[in-house]
Protein backbone atom coordinates (compact mmCIF):
# COMPACT_ATOMS: atom_id res chain seq x y z
CA UNK A 1 0.00 0.00 0.00
CA UNK A 2 1.36 3.37 -0.93
CA UNK A 3 0.52 6.91 0.03
CA UNK A 4 -1.57 7.40 -3.11
CA UNK A 5 -4.01 4.65 -2.19
CA UNK A 6 -5.73 6.66 0.51
CA UNK A 7 -9.23 7.40 -0.74
CA UNK A 8 -10.25 11.05 -0.73
CA UNK A 9 -13.03 12.98 -2.38
CA UNK A 10 -11.02 14.79 -5.04
CA UNK A 11 -10.36 13.17 -8.38
CA UNK A 12 -8.33 13.85 -11.52
CA UNK A 13 -4.89 15.41 -11.63
CA UNK A 14 -5.63 17.94 -8.91
CA UNK A 15 -6.85 15.20 -6.60
CA UNK A 16 -3.79 13.12 -7.30
CA UNK A 17 -1.58 16.14 -6.56
CA UNK A 18 -3.42 16.76 -3.27
CA UNK A 19 -2.86 13.20 -2.17
CA UNK A 20 0.91 13.36 -2.62
CA UNK A 21 3.00 13.92 0.51
CA UNK A 22 3.65 17.55 1.47
CA UNK A 23 7.41 17.14 1.03
CA UNK A 24 6.82 15.99 -2.56
CA UNK A 25 4.68 19.03 -3.34
CA UNK A 26 7.09 21.55 -1.80
CA UNK A 27 10.02 19.85 -3.53
CA UNK A 28 8.23 19.80 -6.88
CA UNK A 29 7.41 23.52 -6.62
CA UNK A 30 11.04 24.40 -5.79
CA UNK A 31 12.26 22.28 -8.69
CA UNK A 32 9.72 23.87 -11.03
CA UNK A 33 11.01 27.33 -10.04
CA UNK A 34 14.57 26.24 -10.68
CA UNK A 35 13.52 24.76 -14.01
CA UNK A 36 11.78 28.00 -15.05
CA UNK A 37 14.83 30.05 -14.08
CA UNK A 38 17.08 27.67 -15.98
CA UNK A 39 14.98 27.87 -19.17
CA UNK A 40 13.80 31.49 -19.25
CA UNK A 41 16.15 33.22 -16.81
CA UNK A 42 19.01 33.86 -19.23
CA UNK A 43 16.63 35.91 -21.46
CA UNK A 44 15.28 37.96 -18.59
CA UNK A 45 18.34 39.03 -16.61
CA UNK A 46 19.91 42.35 -17.58
CA UNK A 47 23.54 41.21 -17.96
CA UNK A 48 25.52 38.39 -19.56
CA UNK A 49 27.43 35.90 -17.44
CA UNK A 50 30.82 37.28 -18.45
CA UNK A 51 29.76 40.89 -18.96
CA UNK A 52 32.08 43.17 -17.01
CA UNK A 53 31.65 46.75 -15.84
CA UNK A 54 28.00 46.29 -14.94
CA UNK A 55 28.42 48.27 -11.74
CA UNK A 56 30.94 49.33 -9.14
CA UNK A 57 32.87 46.22 -8.07
CA UNK A 58 32.54 45.10 -4.45
CA UNK A 59 29.34 47.05 -3.78
CA UNK A 60 26.86 45.04 -1.75
CA UNK A 61 23.17 44.35 -2.31
CA UNK A 62 21.22 46.93 -4.27
CA UNK A 63 18.08 47.03 -6.37
CA UNK A 64 20.05 46.83 -9.64
CA UNK A 65 22.40 44.17 -8.25
CA UNK A 66 20.47 41.96 -5.79
CA UNK A 67 23.51 39.69 -5.25
CA UNK A 68 26.10 42.46 -5.57
CA UNK A 69 28.92 42.90 -8.06
CA UNK A 70 32.05 40.74 -8.14
CA UNK A 71 35.72 41.72 -8.44
CA UNK A 72 35.56 41.86 -12.22
CA UNK A 73 32.48 44.06 -12.13
CA UNK A 74 30.10 41.29 -13.17
CA UNK A 75 26.54 41.18 -11.86
CA UNK A 76 26.40 38.18 -9.53
CA UNK A 77 22.61 37.75 -9.80
CA UNK A 78 22.76 37.50 -13.60
CA UNK A 79 25.60 35.00 -13.27
CA UNK A 80 23.65 32.87 -10.80
CA UNK A 81 20.67 32.80 -13.19
CA UNK A 82 22.88 31.94 -16.17
CA UNK A 83 24.40 29.13 -14.08
CA UNK A 84 21.09 27.37 -13.34
CA UNK A 85 20.85 25.42 -16.59
CA UNK A 86 24.53 24.52 -16.43
CA UNK A 87 24.29 23.08 -12.91
CA UNK A 88 21.02 21.28 -13.67
CA UNK A 89 22.14 19.85 -17.03
CA UNK A 90 25.50 18.64 -15.70
CA UNK A 91 23.84 17.06 -12.65
CA UNK A 92 21.05 15.35 -14.55
CA UNK A 93 23.16 14.04 -17.41
CA UNK A 94 25.90 12.78 -15.08
CA UNK A 95 23.37 11.03 -12.86
CA UNK A 96 21.45 9.66 -15.85
CA UNK A 97 24.60 8.18 -17.33
CA UNK A 98 25.45 6.67 -13.93
CA UNK A 99 21.92 5.27 -13.71
CA UNK A 100 22.05 3.60 -17.14
CA UNK A 101 25.48 2.08 -16.51
CA UNK A 102 24.66 1.12 -12.93
CA UNK A 103 21.31 -0.48 -13.84
CA UNK A 104 22.76 -2.58 -16.64
CA UNK A 105 25.76 -3.75 -14.62
CA UNK A 106 23.80 -4.29 -11.40
CA UNK A 107 20.77 -6.07 -12.88
CA UNK A 108 22.85 -8.38 -15.09
CA UNK A 109 25.29 -9.14 -12.29
CA UNK A 110 22.52 -9.99 -9.84
CA UNK A 111 20.63 -12.09 -12.38
CA UNK A 112 23.59 -14.02 -13.80
CA UNK A 113 25.15 -14.66 -10.39
CA UNK A 114 28.06 -17.05 -9.90
CA UNK A 115 31.67 -16.04 -10.44
CA UNK A 116 30.82 -13.26 -12.89
CA UNK A 117 28.72 -11.62 -10.19
CA UNK A 118 31.54 -12.11 -7.68
CA UNK A 119 34.12 -10.47 -9.92
CA UNK A 120 31.82 -7.54 -10.74
CA UNK A 121 31.02 -7.03 -7.06
CA UNK A 122 34.74 -6.95 -6.23
CA UNK A 123 35.37 -4.31 -8.89
CA UNK A 124 32.42 -2.19 -7.77
CA UNK A 125 33.56 -2.50 -4.16
CA UNK A 126 36.98 -1.24 -5.25
CA UNK A 127 35.46 1.89 -6.75
CA UNK A 128 33.24 2.44 -3.70
CA UNK A 129 36.25 2.06 -1.37
CA UNK A 130 37.75 5.31 -2.55
CA UNK A 131 35.86 8.16 -0.87
CA UNK A 132 33.76 9.68 -3.66
CA UNK A 133 35.27 13.16 -3.62
CA UNK A 134 38.76 11.66 -3.69
CA UNK A 135 37.72 9.38 -6.56
CA UNK A 136 36.30 12.34 -8.46
CA UNK A 137 39.49 14.35 -7.90
CA UNK A 138 41.62 11.36 -8.96
CA UNK A 139 39.63 10.99 -12.18
CA UNK A 140 39.89 14.70 -12.90
CA UNK A 141 43.63 14.63 -12.34
CA UNK A 142 44.13 11.46 -14.37
CA UNK A 143 42.38 12.99 -17.36
CA UNK A 144 45.30 15.37 -17.67
CA UNK A 145 45.58 19.12 -18.22
CA UNK A 146 44.14 19.14 -21.76
CA UNK A 147 40.74 17.88 -20.69
CA UNK A 148 40.63 19.83 -17.42
CA UNK A 149 37.47 21.89 -17.09
CA UNK A 150 35.69 20.12 -19.93
CA UNK A 151 31.98 19.81 -19.03
CA UNK A 152 31.82 16.35 -20.61
CA UNK A 153 34.56 15.25 -18.22
CA UNK A 154 32.50 16.56 -15.29
CA UNK A 155 29.52 14.49 -16.50
CA UNK A 156 31.70 11.39 -16.87
CA UNK A 157 33.12 11.86 -13.37
CA UNK A 158 29.65 12.19 -11.81
CA UNK A 159 28.65 8.99 -13.62
CA UNK A 160 31.83 7.23 -12.48
CA UNK A 161 31.17 8.13 -8.84
CA UNK A 162 27.50 7.09 -8.95
CA UNK A 163 27.36 4.01 -11.13
CA UNK A 164 28.92 1.55 -8.65
CA UNK A 165 26.56 2.71 -5.91
CA UNK A 166 23.53 2.48 -8.20
CA UNK A 167 24.71 -0.92 -9.45
CA UNK A 168 24.77 -2.22 -5.89
CA UNK A 169 21.12 -1.24 -5.39
CA UNK A 170 20.11 -2.63 -8.80
CA UNK A 171 21.86 -5.90 -8.03
CA UNK A 172 19.98 -6.52 -4.80
CA UNK A 173 16.73 -5.65 -6.58
CA UNK A 174 17.59 -8.13 -9.36
CA UNK A 175 18.37 -10.91 -6.88
CA UNK A 176 15.00 -10.32 -5.27
CA UNK A 177 13.07 -10.24 -8.56
CA UNK A 178 14.94 -13.22 -10.02
CA UNK A 179 13.29 -15.55 -7.49
CA UNK A 180 9.82 -14.85 -8.89
CA UNK A 181 8.00 -17.20 -11.23
CA UNK A 182 7.79 -14.98 -14.28
CA UNK A 183 11.58 -14.77 -14.39
CA UNK A 184 11.90 -18.55 -14.15
CA UNK A 185 9.35 -18.88 -16.97
CA UNK A 186 11.22 -16.39 -19.14
CA UNK A 187 14.39 -18.34 -18.49
CA UNK A 188 12.65 -21.59 -19.47
CA UNK A 189 11.43 -19.93 -22.67
CA UNK A 190 15.12 -19.63 -23.46
CA UNK A 191 15.40 -15.87 -23.25
CA UNK A 192 18.90 -14.43 -23.01
CA UNK A 193 20.12 -12.68 -19.87
CA UNK A 194 19.99 -9.36 -21.71
CA UNK A 195 16.38 -9.82 -22.72
CA UNK A 196 15.35 -11.04 -19.25
CA UNK A 197 17.02 -7.96 -17.82
CA UNK A 198 15.31 -5.61 -20.23
CA UNK A 199 11.85 -7.16 -20.23
CA UNK A 200 11.46 -8.69 -16.76
CA UNK A 201 13.95 -7.19 -14.31
CA UNK A 202 14.03 -3.57 -15.46
CA UNK A 203 10.25 -2.95 -15.38
CA UNK A 204 10.05 -4.47 -11.90
CA UNK A 205 13.01 -2.53 -10.57
CA UNK A 206 11.70 0.83 -11.83
CA UNK A 207 10.64 2.19 -8.46
CA UNK A 208 13.98 1.26 -6.82
CA UNK A 209 15.90 2.85 -9.67
CA UNK A 210 13.68 5.93 -9.79
CA UNK A 211 14.26 6.68 -6.11
CA UNK A 212 17.95 5.93 -6.53
CA UNK A 213 18.12 8.36 -9.45
CA UNK A 214 16.38 11.13 -7.51
CA UNK A 215 18.59 10.54 -4.50
CA UNK A 216 21.81 10.69 -6.51
CA UNK A 217 20.64 13.64 -8.61
CA UNK A 218 20.02 15.48 -5.35
CA UNK A 219 23.65 15.23 -4.40
CA UNK A 220 25.14 15.79 -7.88
CA UNK A 221 24.97 19.63 -7.71
CA UNK A 222 26.98 19.47 -4.47
CA UNK A 223 29.56 17.15 -6.01
CA UNK A 224 29.88 19.36 -9.10
CA UNK A 225 29.95 22.45 -6.89
CA UNK A 226 32.67 20.92 -4.68
CA UNK A 227 34.80 20.16 -7.74
CA UNK A 228 34.28 23.70 -9.03
CA UNK A 229 35.01 25.17 -5.60
CA UNK A 230 38.26 23.21 -5.32
CA UNK A 231 39.38 24.24 -8.82
CA UNK A 232 38.87 20.80 -10.39
CA UNK A 233 35.51 21.38 -12.06
CA UNK A 234 34.41 23.57 -14.95
CA UNK A 235 36.67 26.51 -15.68
CA UNK A 236 36.03 30.26 -15.34
CA UNK A 237 34.16 32.22 -16.58
CA UNK A 238 31.53 29.44 -16.50
CA UNK A 239 28.91 30.60 -13.97
CA UNK A 240 28.85 27.31 -12.05
CA UNK A 241 27.73 28.04 -8.48
CA UNK A 242 30.51 26.25 -6.57
CA UNK A 243 33.11 27.97 -8.70
CA UNK A 244 31.41 31.34 -8.08
CA UNK A 245 31.44 30.78 -4.32
CA UNK A 246 35.16 30.09 -4.55
CA UNK A 247 35.82 33.13 -6.77
CA UNK A 248 33.89 35.49 -4.51
CA UNK A 249 35.30 34.14 -1.26
CA UNK A 250 37.84 36.96 -1.15
CA UNK A 251 34.91 39.42 -1.04
CA UNK A 252 33.30 37.66 1.88
CA UNK A 253 33.99 40.41 4.39
CA UNK A 254 33.19 43.37 2.12
CA UNK A 255 30.17 41.90 0.33
CA UNK A 256 28.97 38.58 1.80
CA UNK A 257 25.96 38.47 -0.55
CA UNK A 258 28.23 37.67 -3.53
CA UNK A 259 28.92 34.34 -1.78
CA UNK A 260 25.53 33.82 -0.14
CA UNK A 261 23.67 34.42 -3.45
CA UNK A 262 25.10 31.46 -5.35
CA UNK A 263 25.06 29.53 -2.06
CA UNK A 264 21.32 30.14 -1.72
CA UNK A 265 20.75 28.98 -5.30
CA UNK A 266 22.72 25.77 -4.75
CA UNK A 267 21.23 24.98 -1.33
CA UNK A 268 17.64 25.64 -2.49
CA UNK A 269 18.10 23.36 -5.50
CA UNK A 270 19.37 20.58 -3.25
CA UNK A 271 16.60 21.15 -0.67
CA UNK A 272 14.08 20.89 -3.52
CA UNK A 273 15.62 17.70 -4.85
CA UNK A 274 15.83 16.16 -1.36
CA UNK A 275 12.21 16.97 -0.49
CA UNK A 276 11.09 15.68 -3.89
CA UNK A 277 13.06 12.47 -3.36
CA UNK A 278 11.67 11.92 0.12
CA UNK A 279 8.14 12.43 -1.16
CA UNK A 280 8.69 10.26 -4.23
CA UNK A 281 10.04 7.48 -2.04
CA UNK A 282 6.96 7.67 0.15
CA UNK A 283 4.65 7.58 -2.89
CA UNK A 284 6.44 4.49 -4.18
CA UNK A 285 6.30 2.89 -0.74
CA UNK A 286 10.03 2.92 -0.14
CA UNK A 287 12.28 4.32 2.51
CA UNK A 288 15.17 6.45 1.53
CA UNK A 289 18.21 7.65 3.42
CA UNK A 290 19.06 11.14 2.25
CA UNK A 291 22.61 12.38 2.20
CA UNK A 292 24.27 11.19 -0.97
CA UNK A 293 27.31 9.19 0.13
Amino acid sequence: MTALDHPTGASGWLGLWRRTPLSFRIGAVILLLHGLVAVFGPYLVPYGYSEMRTGIPLTGMSFEHPFGVDQLGRDVFSRVVHGAHIVILLSLSGTALGLVLGSIVGLLSGYVGGWIDNVIQRLLETLISIPFLVLALLAMAAAGPELAGNPVLVILVVALVYFPRIARMARSAAIDIATRDFVTIAKLRGETAWSVMRRELLPNATSVLLVEFALRAGYAPVLIGSLGFLGFGVKPPTPEWGLMISENRALLIISPITVLGPGLALASLVVGLNLFTEGLARILGRTVKLGGA
Binding site: L127, I130, V134, V270, A293
Partner: protein, 316 residues
Protein backbone atom coordinates in the same frame (compact mmCIF):
# COMPACT_ATOMS: atom_id res chain seq x y z
CA UNK B 1 33.26 -20.08 16.16
CA UNK B 2 31.07 -18.99 13.30
CA UNK B 3 31.58 -15.40 14.33
CA UNK B 4 35.36 -15.71 14.20
CA UNK B 5 35.11 -17.14 10.70
CA UNK B 6 32.82 -14.34 9.58
CA UNK B 7 35.22 -11.74 10.96
CA UNK B 8 38.25 -13.38 9.34
CA UNK B 9 36.33 -13.50 6.07
CA UNK B 10 35.58 -9.79 6.28
CA UNK B 11 39.24 -9.01 7.02
CA UNK B 12 40.42 -11.08 4.06
CA UNK B 13 37.92 -9.44 1.73
CA UNK B 14 39.00 -5.98 2.95
CA UNK B 15 42.62 -6.78 2.19
CA UNK B 16 41.67 -7.97 -1.29
CA UNK B 17 39.75 -4.75 -1.90
CA UNK B 18 42.74 -2.72 -0.77
CA UNK B 19 44.95 -4.65 -3.19
CA UNK B 20 42.49 -3.93 -6.02
CA UNK B 21 42.44 -0.25 -5.03
CA UNK B 22 46.23 -0.13 -5.34
CA UNK B 23 45.97 -1.70 -8.79
CA UNK B 24 43.30 0.78 -9.82
CA UNK B 25 45.29 3.79 -8.61
CA UNK B 26 48.37 2.57 -10.43
CA UNK B 27 46.44 1.82 -13.64
CA UNK B 28 44.71 5.19 -13.65
CA UNK B 29 47.79 7.24 -12.92
CA UNK B 30 50.58 5.37 -14.67
CA UNK B 31 49.20 3.07 -17.36
CA UNK B 32 46.26 4.92 -18.90
CA UNK B 33 46.76 5.87 -22.56
CA UNK B 34 49.10 8.76 -23.09
CA UNK B 35 52.64 9.20 -21.89
CA UNK B 36 52.90 9.62 -18.12
CA UNK B 37 55.89 11.93 -18.37
CA UNK B 38 54.10 14.33 -20.73
CA UNK B 39 50.99 14.18 -18.56
CA UNK B 40 53.03 15.13 -15.49
CA UNK B 41 55.09 17.81 -17.18
CA UNK B 42 52.50 19.22 -19.57
CA UNK B 43 52.68 19.61 -23.33
CA UNK B 44 55.46 22.14 -23.59
CA UNK B 45 58.01 20.12 -21.61
CA UNK B 46 61.49 19.88 -23.15
CA UNK B 47 62.56 16.42 -24.38
CA UNK B 48 65.39 16.47 -21.82
CA UNK B 49 63.10 16.95 -18.83
CA UNK B 50 60.76 14.26 -20.17
CA UNK B 51 63.74 11.90 -20.46
CA UNK B 52 64.85 12.64 -16.89
CA UNK B 53 61.36 12.02 -15.55
CA UNK B 54 60.98 8.80 -17.53
CA UNK B 55 64.21 7.65 -15.98
CA UNK B 56 63.16 8.59 -12.46
CA UNK B 57 59.81 6.84 -12.76
CA UNK B 58 61.41 3.85 -14.55
CA UNK B 59 58.89 4.36 -17.34
CA UNK B 60 60.85 2.18 -19.73
CA UNK B 61 60.14 -0.89 -17.61
CA UNK B 62 56.98 -2.89 -18.38
CA UNK B 63 53.92 -1.74 -16.46
CA UNK B 64 53.42 -4.93 -14.42
CA UNK B 65 57.03 -4.77 -13.22
CA UNK B 66 56.61 -1.14 -12.18
CA UNK B 67 53.42 -2.02 -10.34
CA UNK B 68 55.03 -4.90 -8.46
CA UNK B 69 58.06 -2.77 -7.51
CA UNK B 70 55.79 0.04 -6.39
CA UNK B 71 53.59 -2.31 -4.37
CA UNK B 72 56.61 -4.04 -2.84
CA UNK B 73 58.13 -0.73 -1.81
CA UNK B 74 54.79 0.37 -0.47
CA UNK B 75 54.41 -2.73 1.70
CA UNK B 76 57.90 -2.29 3.14
CA UNK B 77 57.08 1.31 4.05
CA UNK B 78 58.98 2.98 1.21
CA UNK B 79 56.57 5.45 -0.38
CA UNK B 80 59.13 6.98 -2.72
CA UNK B 81 60.18 10.57 -3.09
CA UNK B 82 58.31 13.67 -4.18
CA UNK B 83 58.93 14.64 -7.81
CA UNK B 84 58.83 18.31 -6.88
CA UNK B 85 60.90 18.63 -3.72
CA UNK B 86 62.76 15.32 -3.75
CA UNK B 87 61.85 14.75 -0.10
CA UNK B 88 60.68 11.30 1.00
CA UNK B 89 56.89 11.07 0.73
CA UNK B 90 56.67 9.80 4.30
CA UNK B 91 58.27 13.02 5.62
CA UNK B 92 55.75 15.12 3.71
CA UNK B 93 52.77 12.98 4.66
CA UNK B 94 53.60 12.42 8.35
CA UNK B 95 52.92 15.88 9.80
CA UNK B 96 49.85 16.31 7.56
CA UNK B 97 48.37 13.05 8.80
CA UNK B 98 49.05 14.10 12.38
CA UNK B 99 47.21 17.41 11.82
CA UNK B 100 44.25 15.72 10.15
CA UNK B 101 43.98 13.02 12.82
CA UNK B 102 43.89 15.72 15.47
CA UNK B 103 41.20 17.57 13.51
CA UNK B 104 39.19 14.39 12.93
CA UNK B 105 39.36 13.45 16.62
CA UNK B 106 38.17 16.92 17.62
CA UNK B 107 35.36 16.75 15.05
CA UNK B 108 34.26 13.31 16.29
CA UNK B 109 34.20 14.57 19.87
CA UNK B 110 31.84 17.37 18.82
CA UNK B 111 29.88 15.01 16.58
CA UNK B 112 28.64 12.75 19.38
CA UNK B 113 26.59 15.35 21.32
CA UNK B 114 25.60 17.15 18.09
CA UNK B 115 24.08 13.93 16.75
CA UNK B 116 22.56 12.59 19.96
CA UNK B 117 20.97 15.61 21.62
CA UNK B 118 18.79 16.87 18.73
CA UNK B 119 17.68 13.29 18.01
CA UNK B 120 16.72 12.78 21.66
CA UNK B 121 14.82 16.07 21.75
CA UNK B 122 13.02 15.15 18.52
CA UNK B 123 12.13 11.66 19.70
CA UNK B 124 10.75 12.93 23.00
CA UNK B 125 8.77 15.79 21.40
CA UNK B 126 7.78 13.71 18.42
CA UNK B 127 5.33 15.24 15.92
CA UNK B 128 5.18 18.44 17.96
CA UNK B 129 6.35 21.79 16.52
CA UNK B 130 9.86 21.48 18.00
CA UNK B 131 10.32 18.11 16.27
CA UNK B 132 9.18 19.55 12.93
CA UNK B 133 11.39 22.62 13.36
CA UNK B 134 14.44 20.48 14.04
CA UNK B 135 13.57 18.24 11.08
CA UNK B 136 13.51 21.31 8.85
CA UNK B 137 16.86 22.51 10.22
CA UNK B 138 18.50 19.13 9.60
CA UNK B 139 17.03 18.95 6.10
CA UNK B 140 18.43 22.39 5.23
CA UNK B 141 21.81 21.52 6.71
CA UNK B 142 21.77 18.20 4.85
CA UNK B 143 21.25 20.10 1.61
CA UNK B 144 23.95 22.63 2.35
CA UNK B 145 27.26 21.82 0.68
CA UNK B 146 30.08 21.61 3.22
CA UNK B 147 32.11 24.28 1.46
CA UNK B 148 29.18 26.68 1.81
CA UNK B 149 28.63 25.83 5.48
CA UNK B 150 32.35 26.30 6.15
CA UNK B 151 32.28 29.65 4.36
CA UNK B 152 29.23 30.83 6.29
CA UNK B 153 30.79 29.80 9.63
CA UNK B 154 33.88 31.66 8.56
CA UNK B 155 31.89 34.89 8.01
CA UNK B 156 29.96 34.52 11.24
CA UNK B 157 32.92 33.85 13.48
CA UNK B 158 35.45 36.05 11.85
CA UNK B 159 33.20 39.05 11.32
CA UNK B 160 30.49 38.94 13.93
CA UNK B 161 32.25 37.14 16.76
CA UNK B 162 35.95 37.68 16.05
CA UNK B 163 37.38 35.21 18.54
CA UNK B 164 38.55 32.57 16.10
CA UNK B 165 41.16 32.92 13.37
CA UNK B 166 40.09 33.00 9.72
CA UNK B 167 43.15 31.10 8.62
CA UNK B 168 44.04 27.98 10.53
CA UNK B 169 47.76 27.83 9.85
CA UNK B 170 49.60 25.74 12.40
CA UNK B 171 52.93 23.95 12.43
CA UNK B 172 55.07 22.00 14.88
CA UNK B 173 55.99 25.20 16.73
CA UNK B 174 52.36 26.07 17.48
CA UNK B 175 51.22 25.72 21.07
CA UNK B 176 48.37 23.42 22.07
CA UNK B 177 46.11 26.43 22.53
CA UNK B 178 46.93 27.72 19.03
CA UNK B 179 46.10 24.29 17.64
CA UNK B 180 42.82 24.27 19.54
CA UNK B 181 41.85 27.72 18.23
CA UNK B 182 42.88 26.91 14.68
CA UNK B 183 40.99 23.64 14.62
CA UNK B 184 37.72 24.80 16.15
CA UNK B 185 35.97 26.16 13.05
CA UNK B 186 37.03 23.32 10.72
CA UNK B 187 36.08 20.75 13.38
CA UNK B 188 32.67 22.37 13.99
CA UNK B 189 31.97 22.33 10.24
CA UNK B 190 32.85 18.65 9.92
CA UNK B 191 30.93 17.73 13.07
CA UNK B 192 27.76 19.50 11.89
CA UNK B 193 27.83 17.82 8.48
CA UNK B 194 28.38 14.39 10.04
CA UNK B 195 25.80 14.92 12.78
CA UNK B 196 23.08 15.85 10.30
CA UNK B 197 23.38 12.45 8.62
CA UNK B 198 23.06 10.69 11.96
CA UNK B 199 20.35 12.82 13.59
CA UNK B 200 17.62 11.87 11.13
CA UNK B 201 18.32 8.19 11.45
CA UNK B 202 18.77 8.25 15.22
CA UNK B 203 15.46 10.07 15.65
CA UNK B 204 13.56 7.36 13.76
CA UNK B 205 15.40 4.58 15.61
CA UNK B 206 14.69 6.17 18.96
CA UNK B 207 11.01 6.50 18.19
CA UNK B 208 10.86 2.88 17.15
CA UNK B 209 12.62 1.75 20.33
CA UNK B 210 10.47 4.01 22.53
CA UNK B 211 7.40 2.25 21.08
CA UNK B 212 8.82 -1.21 21.72
CA UNK B 213 7.45 -3.54 24.35
CA UNK B 214 10.42 -3.57 26.67
CA UNK B 215 10.45 0.21 26.91
CA UNK B 216 6.69 0.17 27.62
CA UNK B 217 7.41 -2.48 30.22
CA UNK B 218 10.09 -0.35 31.88
CA UNK B 219 7.67 2.59 31.93
CA UNK B 220 4.95 0.42 33.49
CA UNK B 221 7.38 -0.79 36.12
CA UNK B 222 7.77 2.85 37.11
CA UNK B 223 11.27 3.47 35.83
CA UNK B 224 11.76 7.26 35.63
CA UNK B 225 11.26 8.64 32.08
CA UNK B 226 14.78 10.05 31.85
CA UNK B 227 16.27 6.71 32.83
CA UNK B 228 14.12 4.92 30.27
CA UNK B 229 15.43 7.18 27.52
CA UNK B 230 19.08 7.13 28.55
CA UNK B 231 19.53 3.55 29.72
CA UNK B 232 16.97 1.60 27.73
CA UNK B 233 16.17 3.42 24.50
CA UNK B 234 19.39 5.22 23.56
CA UNK B 235 21.83 2.28 23.65
CA UNK B 236 19.51 0.19 21.50
CA UNK B 237 18.85 2.98 19.06
CA UNK B 238 22.58 3.61 18.66
CA UNK B 239 23.42 0.18 17.23
CA UNK B 240 21.91 0.77 13.77
CA UNK B 241 23.68 4.15 13.58
CA UNK B 242 27.08 2.41 13.55
CA UNK B 243 26.61 2.08 9.83
CA UNK B 244 26.00 5.82 9.52
CA UNK B 245 29.10 6.44 11.60
CA UNK B 246 31.13 4.34 9.16
CA UNK B 247 29.61 6.36 6.30
CA UNK B 248 30.57 9.47 8.23
CA UNK B 249 34.15 8.29 8.36
CA UNK B 250 33.98 8.00 4.60
CA UNK B 251 32.55 11.49 4.43
CA UNK B 252 35.24 12.77 6.79
CA UNK B 253 37.99 11.73 4.39
CA UNK B 254 36.41 13.70 1.55
CA UNK B 255 35.20 16.41 3.92
CA UNK B 256 38.67 17.25 5.20
CA UNK B 257 39.71 17.97 1.61
CA UNK B 258 37.09 20.71 1.33
CA UNK B 259 37.20 22.03 4.87
CA UNK B 260 40.97 22.15 5.11
CA UNK B 261 41.04 24.11 1.87
CA UNK B 262 38.47 26.65 3.13
CA UNK B 263 40.33 27.25 6.40
CA UNK B 264 43.85 26.77 4.95
CA UNK B 265 44.47 24.06 7.55
CA UNK B 266 47.70 22.18 6.71
CA UNK B 267 46.35 18.63 6.78
CA UNK B 268 46.14 15.60 4.58
CA UNK B 269 43.24 16.97 2.49
CA UNK B 270 44.93 20.22 1.51
CA UNK B 271 48.06 18.19 0.71
CA UNK B 272 46.05 16.02 -1.70
CA UNK B 273 44.77 19.11 -3.53
CA UNK B 274 48.26 20.61 -3.73
CA UNK B 275 49.90 17.48 -5.11
CA UNK B 276 47.07 16.87 -7.58
CA UNK B 277 47.61 20.36 -8.92
CA UNK B 278 51.39 19.83 -9.03
CA UNK B 279 50.98 16.30 -10.53
CA UNK B 280 53.39 14.92 -7.97
CA UNK B 281 52.64 11.24 -8.71
CA UNK B 282 54.35 9.43 -5.79
CA UNK B 283 52.65 11.69 -3.23
CA UNK B 284 49.26 11.42 -5.00
CA UNK B 285 49.49 7.64 -4.98
CA UNK B 286 50.43 7.44 -1.30
CA UNK B 287 47.74 9.94 -0.28
CA UNK B 288 44.94 8.20 -2.13
CA UNK B 289 46.03 4.76 -0.94
CA UNK B 290 45.91 6.08 2.59
CA UNK B 291 42.44 7.57 2.10
CA UNK B 292 41.14 4.26 0.74
CA UNK B 293 42.84 2.26 3.52
CA UNK B 294 41.23 4.40 6.21
CA UNK B 295 37.84 4.08 4.56
CA UNK B 296 38.10 0.31 4.17
CA UNK B 297 39.26 0.00 7.78
CA UNK B 298 36.30 2.10 8.95
CA UNK B 299 33.84 -0.09 7.09
CA UNK B 300 35.52 -3.23 8.41
CA UNK B 301 35.26 -2.01 11.99
CA UNK B 302 31.59 -1.12 11.50
CA UNK B 303 30.89 -4.59 10.07
CA UNK B 304 32.72 -6.31 12.93
CA UNK B 305 30.91 -4.20 15.50
CA UNK B 306 27.58 -5.06 13.88
CA UNK B 307 28.49 -8.77 13.92
CA UNK B 308 29.45 -8.65 17.58
CA UNK B 309 26.38 -6.67 18.58
CA UNK B 310 23.85 -8.72 16.66
CA UNK B 311 22.90 -11.83 18.63
CA UNK B 312 21.17 -13.40 15.62
CA UNK B 313 24.37 -13.30 13.60
CA UNK B 314 26.30 -14.55 16.60
CA UNK B 315 24.42 -17.80 16.84
CA UNK B 316 24.62 -18.54 13.20
Amino acid sequence: MIIARLILGRIASSLLTLLLVSLLIFLVLEVLPGDVATRVLGRDATPESVAILRERLNLDDPAYLRYLTWLGNFLTGDFGRSLISGRPVIDILGPRIFNTLLLAAYAFLLYIPLATLPALIQAVTRDRPLDHALSLVTLVLLSMPDFLLATILLITFVLAIPILPAISLVDHSSSAFEYFRAMTLPAVTLAIVMAVYAVRMLRDNLIEVLDSEYVRMAELKGVPAARVVWRHALPNALVPTLNVTALNLAYLIGGVVVVERVFSYPGFGSLLLDVLQLRDLPVIEATIMLAAAVYILGNLLADIAALLLNPRLRSG
